[in-house]
């Protein structure tokens, strides 16, 4: 059983929802990545989505764009990100790690090598934002060969046919993008999410995580009530940007603890 599946199974038994924080590897600088991962877990994260920086993050809003730029100033590479996961695994063998980013750095490394390295270092899932099911068959076959879960996005605009297609190919969990826009944008429409989730559940038997636009405990609690997991990204990345370096870990820890508390109220 994959680490992602067992994590969701355990949470389901406890009638709890997953808290899935995201941040960009290498932001604010490389030395922070592994400590931040441990901080997230200590503060109550169930799964970590670790962003792989890319020069052209088309689906991201300004907050995560700037995080990518900060990381790339430090010349962060996919090889390094994988090494950091290996480092993290020396002290943590339970928390699932999902790499999230764009396809080109993986194309440059080669999917075969990438999938093998993921398995070696202990990556559990991979979400490539710009590889929809139409284009990911061959690439994700390499992931499957190494038992890495391909995580897919679904959106408010996804048709029934597309939901069904994702249901067939996805493993681990499905990430529902809760609003029309880029990461970190606008306000959530809880009623719209509440309406869409049952539609997704008709085809999707995997857990459903919801993200994009979750900014505080209140929205996290409300969203958690509608799905199986809550993804919080831009809010954390914004805090990393706003904090003096010596306070990054403490402040992110506080925020995630508050989110944990809120999600557990759902």
């Amino acid at each position: 059983m994959s680490r992602i599946q067992s994590t969701f199974d355990k949470l389901a038994q406890q009638r709890r929802k997953a808290l899935i924080p995201f941040f960009t590897a290498g932001d604010p600088s490389p030395a922070f990545t592994v400590p931040l991962m441990h901080t997230l877990v200590e503060a109550g994260a169930d799964i970590i989505e670790l962003g792989v920086p890319f020069s052209d993050p088309m689906a991201d809003g300004p907050v995560i764009q700037r995080a990518s730029e900060r990381a790339l100033k430090h010349l962060v590479t996919l090889h390094q990100v994988l090494d950091w996961v290996a480092e993290f695994r020396k002290r943590n063998v339970l928390t699932p790690i999902v790499l999230m980013g764009y396809g080109n750095p993986i194309e440059a490394m080669g999917w075969e090598t990438f999938a093998r390295r993921c398995a070696e270092v202990g990556v559990d899932g991979v979400l490539t934002v710009d590889f929809p099911p139409e284009e990911s068959h061959e690439a994700f076959a390499h992931l499957a060969a190494h038992c890495i879960d391909p995580i897919f996005l679904l959106a408010p605009t996804s048709t029934d046919a597309r939901i069904e297609r994702v249901a067939r190919q996805a493993r681990g969990y499905v990430y529902y993008v809760s609003l029309k826009g880029v990461t970190g944008a606008g306000h959530l429409d809880l009623a719209a999410i509440a309406g869409k989730i049952p539609e997704l559940r008709r085809h999707i038997k995997l857990p459903i995580g919801v993200g994009f636009g979750i900014r505080d405990g209140e929205t996290a609690r409300s969203v958690a009530g509608l799905c199986d997991g809550v993804v919080v990204g831009s809010r954390i990345v914004q805090l990393i940007e706003d904090s003096p370096e010596q306070e990054v870990l403490a402040r992110v820890g506080e925020l995630v603890k508050a989110l944990r508390f809120a999600v557990d109220q759902a």
Binding site: F54, S55, D56, P57, M58, A59, D60, G61, P62, Q65, E69, L72, T77, L78, H79, Y102, G103, N104, P105, I106, E107, A108, M109, V129, D130, F131, P132, E134, E135, F152, L153, L154, A155, T157, S158, T159, R162, V166, V177, K180, G181, V182, A185, G186
Partner: protein
């Protein structure tokens, strides 16, 4: 018969639909609308009417006799896309996409632009069809193409300078994509080149293929034959696909795409992914040859011409290169600038710096060929927009 792309937009291994799920719905909607209207007689009639009376088509083909005589070899003919309304081939595509937007009930159009020609062509048709228009332009390009920025504003468009990344065309494209995904219900994204996710590379090619549709009729009328060689500059590659398209199935016609060699391929400062043998990658919704570092990060490009300053190339060009049907070469900044001045001097035509790359390659090979050979160059745009750049390089402030 040449029959690319396939249903999902693949040209061999290139092209495709590499976008986030949030855009898939809009692309499906666009694809369905385009499939519905591309063969619709009423749509075609309206398009042709506007191409004739608004754009001024057909554009003439001009025999550059003095230039050819001076070079002493093959005869150079120019397809005068510079004479179109707005001064470049870009308007062929924006008229087509705006008419499609109108039929889809979209009231707002957005565009990315590098040199500003596509932005101007989009602002123009938005005014013509009564649509709101927002153009994204890298802040570096806003600086170097200020006349076009003002033209867009005169036409009622909002120009948004993009400060992220390298502040050029690729970043403008990223930002336009972000706008589109946010305002997807009422917004139509008019992409200006044969890149982006399917159906854009096919659709933009189709709208620009009016250029070669005219050439295959005009050349025999004027010269008694089809050209021996067709030459066009390639940034994203829309003017090249336009003039190549109806020649692809004529194996006797050589097709040559000219990339921006910048300071020379060896310098690394260029915008020539095909000529420099860059690796294949994924950017802006499609798979294609792409200038990138060993870690898959897109690298900054350089060209004297803002319109060619792009790290990728339309996926159909990648396929035409691999299949051997077209050849790709590079012309550096200096050679393009020299060709710019030569055309002014010998023919009284000020070419765009983009088109000057194609012209420079024609001038390079003409002397090596016999006087009976015919080279057809796509003079894709006029150079009025470039006079500040050219004057600056000559140490003159206007």
């Amino acid at each position: 018969m040449y029959n690319y792309p396939d249903k999902l937009g693949h040209f061999g291994p290139y092209g495709g639909i590499y976008v986030a799920e949030t855009l898939m719905g809009a692309l499906e909607e666009l694809n369905q609308a385009y499939e519905k209207y591309r063969h619709d007689p009423a749509f075609i009639a309206e398009l042709n009417d506007d191409l004739k009376h608004y754009v001024g088509r057909p554009s003439p083909i001009y025999h550059a006799r003095h230039l050819s005589g001076h070079l002493g070899g093959a005869q150079i003919y120019l397809k005068r896309e510079d004479l179109n309304h707005t001064g470049a081939h870009k308007v062929n595509n924006t008229v087509g996409q705006a008419l499609l937007a109108k039929r889809m009930g979209k009231k707002r159009v957005i565009a990315e632009t590098g040199a500003g020609q596509h932005g101007v062509a989009t602002a123009t048709v938005a005014a013509r069809y009564g649509m709101e228009c927002v153009v994204y332009m890298g802040s570096a390009d806003v600086q170097r193409q200020s006349p076009n920025v003002y033209r867009m504003k005169l036409l009622g468009a909002t120009v948004v300078p993009v400060e992220s990344g390298s502040k050029t065309l690729k970043d403008a494209l990223n930002e336009a994509m972000r706008d589109w995904v946010t305002n997807i219900e009422h917004t139509f994204y008019i992409i200006g080149t044969v890149a982006g996710p399917h159906p854009y590379p096919m659709m933009v090619r189709d709208f620009n293929s009016v250029v070669s549709r005219e050439c295959v009729v005009q050349m025999p009328e004027q010269t008694g034959q089809q050209p021996d060689v067709v030459i066009a500059c390639v940034g994203g590659g829309s003017n090249a696909m336009g003039i190549f398209y109806h020649y692809i199935d004529m194996p006797g016609v050589r097709l040559i795409g000219v990339e921006a060699g910048g300071h020379g391929i060896a310098s690394g400062q260029h915008a020539a992914p095909l000529t420099s043998n860059s690796p294949v990658g994924v950017l802006h919704g499609n798979k294609t040859y792409l200038m990138q570092d060993a870690n898959g990060q897109i690298i900054e490009t350089h060209s004297i011409s803002a319109g060619l300053d792009y790290p990728g190339v339309g996926p159909e060009h990648s396929w035409l290169k691999d299949s051997g049907r077209a050849e790709y070469v590079a012309i550096n900044d200096e050679e393009a600038l020299a060709a710019f001045h030569e055309l002014c001097h010998f023919e009284g035509i000020i070419p765009a710096l983009e088109s000057s790359h194609a012209l420079a390659y024609a001038m390079k090979i003409a002397p090596t060929l016999s006087r009976e050979k015919i080279l057809l160059v796509n003079l894709s745009g006029r150079g009025d927009k470039d006079i500040n750049t050219v004057a600056g390089l000559s140490g003159i402030t206007l």
